[in-house]
């Protein structure tokens, strides 16, 4: 099946990961599962390939990186600076630029608001969820198509950052398989946002949902710039067993003229819960649906917009506890009564 360079969320799944990246695939998967996600599309890796092909025809890129010695920070820094500037500065091929502008217009026509988020979506399998995730970029409140095109190149260029190159060189990753997809989606005007896990991060308990959130955009929570409010809810029962409302001194919010500003949160709002119990209940239900859809524990980013709608921004498999080989709490017994000996038989 041949694809264009654009894949709308409703048309992609996690199976398309090689072309749309983990983030893009996950958003497609969620959209198709009927979960509220800000509408958007993925710029497939094919676009990156075409762009790089054009760039390589002027001067080599990948062979320059492949020639770098792991740990040779001085040269890595020099090559990185040069390549990032080239990626950022090069114009997109005309046909591609037209297609991207058309997709942008189509997205705006859906009525979700004039502003968008541009986020990188990595395709590398190994560690894509952990260390590599932090090396990529997200641009919020992007105001028009021209700026979108700039940000797309910015995302691509992040593959040639010092950290990213070092990471690949250290692991001997083949430069020819390195590619990046980019997610473009409507910006959520978040009143509050955060993350949630469908297992307990502290005990691995699968029967609770742990929710963290703060005022404004989720970037303050993900980036660790604010101590979020935290709740632990029974996944099945909805009981709230932990309710830690923190002092949320800062929020990330839309800056006038695009981009994000870090604003101080005034007065009593700092220690007011950023999410109501009814919203927590919605979060719990959506967490259960997503987990059921994937069949494994999830690490989810969410936002609640200024109109009170809950939207999901990302969901990926929980890795820490899933990787641990957990011993079963008990085995089926030949004599069902034998279980009582765990109480009556003594612990010595």
């Amino acid at each position: 099946m041949s694809h264009g360079i654009i894949g709308w969320f409703e048309d992609v799944t996690l199976r398309d990961r090689a072309e749309v990246g983990g983030k893009g695939g996950s958003l497609g998967e969620l959209t198709r599962a009927g979960i509220a996600v800000p509408p958007g599309f993925v710029i497939r890796t094919a676009a990156f390939e075409q762009f790089m092909h054009a760039l390589e025809s002027a001067a080599p890129v990948r062979t320059r990186v492949a020639a770098l010695q792991p740990g040779d920070l001085e040269n890595i820094r020099a090559v990185s600076g040069e390549l990032r500037a080239r990626v950022r500065g090069a114009a997109l091929p005309d046909a591609m630029a037209d297609e991207l502008r058309a997709a942008h217009a189509a997205l705006l026509a859906r009525g979700a608001g004039p502003e968008i988020a541009v986020r990188s979506s990595a395709t590398t399998e190994d560690a894509s969820d952990a260390s590599f995730a932090g090396l990529q970029d997200t641009f919020l409140w992007v105001t028009d198509a021209d700026r979108m095109l700039e940000r797309v190149r910015e995302c691509w260029s992040s593959l040639y950052s010092v950290e990213s190159i070092s990471y690949r060189r250290d692991r001997g990753i083949d430069e020819n398989v390195v590619a990046m997809a980019v997610v473009v989606q409507s910006m959520v005007d978040a009143r509050a946002a955060g993350v949630m896990f469908t297992r307990s991060p502290t005990t691995g308990d699968k029967s609770v949902v742990t929710i963290e959130g703060a005022w404004g955009l989720g970037s303050a929570v993900v980036g660790g710039e604010v101590t979020p409010d935290r709740w632990v809810m029974g996944k099945i029962t909805g009981e709230i067993s932990v309710r830690d409302i923190s002092d949320k001194h800062v929020e990330h919010r839309r800056a006038s003229g695009g981009g994000v500003e870090h604003a101080e949160v005034p007065g009593a709002r700092r220690t007011t819960a950023c999410v109501s119990d009814a919203e927590l209940e919605q979060l719990r239900q959506v967490a259960r649906r997503i987990e059921k859809h994937y069949g494994c524990a999830q690490d989810i980013e969410w936002a609640i917009d200024t109109r009170g709608s809950l939207l999901l921004l990302q969901s990926r498999p929980e890795t820490v506890w899933s990787a641990r080989d957990s011993t079963p709490a008990a085995q089926t017994a030949a004599d069902p009564l034998a279980h009582v000996m765990s109480i009556f038989g003594g612990r010595r």
Binding site: T203, T237, Q331, V340, I343
Partner: protein, 606 residues
């Protein structure tokens, strides 16, 4: 924070002193309940769960009978592998208890073989044995009800003489007393016949859930196991039924908020056929369902609804309003059952493998099998039977008071059951000799002294535990019945002298609520409760259910997350924290408090 490994200990029994001036009252308790030097080597804890107040001399019969029966079941009948019975001592009216663990591996192995032959037989034949149990228990209740009224006529009734009965009335005093006492001791054997096995099966499932789901709340496990048609719901259901009948019979205007039960009844007696019909319905509810004590039934002053109708009557006006608003007030049993099935299925689905799911199925099946007993026995034992027993003793109190032994009927409870027998023999003798009894010269001073002692003991400091802290608590009885673990002892040690506005207890029913505290010490005070108040009391039990509709939350000194109060609170969705140990003494009436029933924390806000 204390390191849990630090060698720490509570005060030794020998370092505690009897409150000065109460030594004679303390020595009234039998010799085998007094602490000795040898007891210093052992660990003891104050049984505040069952005996939260100083015990009067007679009420100690509950500890005696209960521990005789509990120990027999554990030590000799079912042969629990790692524990024998519970020893008990009394100091300053407070009951301290200590487990008697088995630690020798060979002895544990020997007892394990015995245990399997006995306990497993019970599990396998649970339903049949439980049916037998109910028959035995109802027969015992009938026997107690059939005991003759305690009285001593001036002359033997003529019909006795002409019937050639040949045994005079004074003898029947002794017989009735001994039968009462024998019945009470026997009742406690019935009480413990299944109890540890029942709790053990429940705890097996509970421990599995805690391992598989480390953050699952106690209440959720309880909800998966709790029955839907248990006896504990019946008293409150009867109150609802009476409210419904009042509306159907169009006599509801007689139920005015704040009007006393006797005034309501008097007013219904003048209300013609329909009033009489409602009063007949009341009689049906009273026998047996109002034989429920306002308290756990361990003290003679825990009276029943039948003794004092103010509790059930306090609930009727509120229920009548709900009926008029079109609510059926029937418990949606089918819906509750469907919810429970769903809850069990949902947790099952979260388990990691079919192996685990198989074990889960096996454990919950057994827990469901034993639970009707765990939930049901209290109504028959602690409520119905105990109520009959204490009221019978009260009849002896009235007779002895009439003969000058006491100033007041209730004074009888200041005598041990041995002493009471001697007083009865004294009266029997006096009736036969025609001489005055000796008791009137002897008992009033002792009664006064003991009443004064109890007042002093109530104010005296009571350490939560005594003696060296054991490395581990491996006694299933203590863990199951009192919820005491090594961790809880460390908390007690750390809490000595700590000042905080937080009071911790068991998370009984989730939800967070703030409101004014209403510290209620007796049933007479329930009329003070206003909508939105938080009830703070020593024991919340199902008898409080009729006022759960009115209040915003409940806090108690005593009780566990499986206590009946907790079960009923959950059904009402009423936030509740139980077993705080000290709420009624630390919270002042009218203070604003926050109850977090999901975490088991009460916060004093002002």
């Amino acid at each position: 924070m204390q390191s849990p490994t630090a060698a720490r200990e509570f005060p030794r029994p020998s370092s505690l002193t009897v409150v000065p001036g109460t030594e004679t009252a303390q020595s009234a308790y039998p010799y085998y309940m007094q602490f000795t030097r040898e007891d210093d080597a052992r660990f003891w804890f104050y049984n505040s769960m069952h005996f939260p107040e100083p015990m009067s001399a007679f009420d100690m019969v509950t500890a005696e009978a209960a521990y005789c029966a509990l120990g027999a079941a554990n030590t000799r009948v079912h042969c629990l592998p790692t524990t024998l019975g519970i020893d008990y001592r009394i100091l300053n009216g407070r009951v301290y208890i200590g487990g008697n663990g088995v630690t020798d591996p060979a002895e544990i192995a020997r007892r394990t073989e015995e245990f399997k032959q006995r306990a497993f037989y019970y599990y396998e034949n649970w339903e049949t044995l439980y049916e037998k149990w109910r028959a035995k228990m109802l027969a015992l209740i009938r026997d107690a009800q059939a005991l003759p009224k305690v009285q001593l006529p001036e002359f033997e009734p003529l019909e006795h003489v002409r019937a050639g009965r040949g045994v005079a009335s004074n003898h029947y005093l002794l017989e009735t007393y001994q039968k009462s006492l024998e019945g009470y001791f026997r009742m406690w054997h019935h009480h413990f016949e299944f109890l540890l096995l029942g709790y053990g099966a429940y705890m097996t499932f509970f421990a599995f859930c805690k391992k598989a789901f480390p953050e699952i709340s106690d209440q959720t496990v309880a909800r998966m196991v709790a029955g839907m048609d248990a006896e504990i719901f019946r008293p409150d259901e009867e109150v609802r039924r009476l409210a419904r009948r009042a509306v159907e019979l169009d006599v509801h205007e007689h139920f005015v908020e704040g009007r006393s039960a006797s005034d309501v009844i008097a007013s219904l007696q003048t209300a013609g056929d329909r009033g009489s019909e409602w009063l007949a319905e009341l009689q049906k509810s009273r026998d047996p369902w109002f034989n429920i004590n306002v308290g756990d039934g361990f003290y003679h002053y825990h009276r029943s609804w039948n003794d004092d109708l103010s509790m059930p009557f306090a609930g009727i006006p509120g229920y009548i309003r709900l009926v008029q608003q079109g609510e059926s007030l029937e418990r949606p049993v089918e819906k509750l059952q469907a919810e429970r099935r769903q809850l069990i299925a949902d947790y099952r689905e979260l388990l990691g493998s079919d192996e685990e799911r198989g074990a889960y199925d096996q454990m919950i099946t057994l827990a469901h099998r034993v639970f009707p007993y765990v939930e049901g026995h209290k109504f028959y034992c602690e409520h119905w039977y105990t109520n009959l027993f204490f009221n019978k003793i009260r009849e002896f109190g009235a007779l002895l008071a009439q003969h000058g032994f006491f100033a007041d009927t209730e004074d009888v409870f200041q005598l041990t059951h041995f002493e009471l027998e001697s007083a009865i023999v004294d009266l029997m003798t006096s009736w036969s000799t025609g001489s005055p009894p000796r008791g009137p010269q002897y008992w009033p001073a002792k009664v006064a002294e003991r009443r004064a002692a109890i007042k002093q003991w109530a104010q005296a400091e009571t350490p939560p535990a005594l003696g060296p802290v054991p490395d581990i608590i491996d006694d299933p009885a203590i863990v199951m019945l009192w919820g005491i673990t090594r961790e809880s002892l460390d908390t007690w040690l750390a809490a000595e002298g700590a000042v905080s506005n937080e009071i911790r207890g068991f998370a009984a029913s989730s939800g967070v609520v703030e409101g004014p505290a209403r510290v209620v010490r007796s049933v007479e005070e329930i009329s003070r409760l206003k909508p939105g108040d938080i009830l703070v009391c020593q024991v919340t039990n199902p008898t409080w259910a009729p006022i759960f509709q009115k209040i915003a939350g409940a806090v108690s000194d005593i009780g566990g997350s499986m206590s009946h109060a907790a079960i009923v609170a959950r059904e009402y969705g009423l936030p509740a924290v139980v077993g705080t140990g000290s709420a009624t003494s630390r919270i002042k009436d009218g203070q604003r408090i926050r109850v977090d029933g999901g975490r088991g924390v009460v916060t004093i806000l002002q």
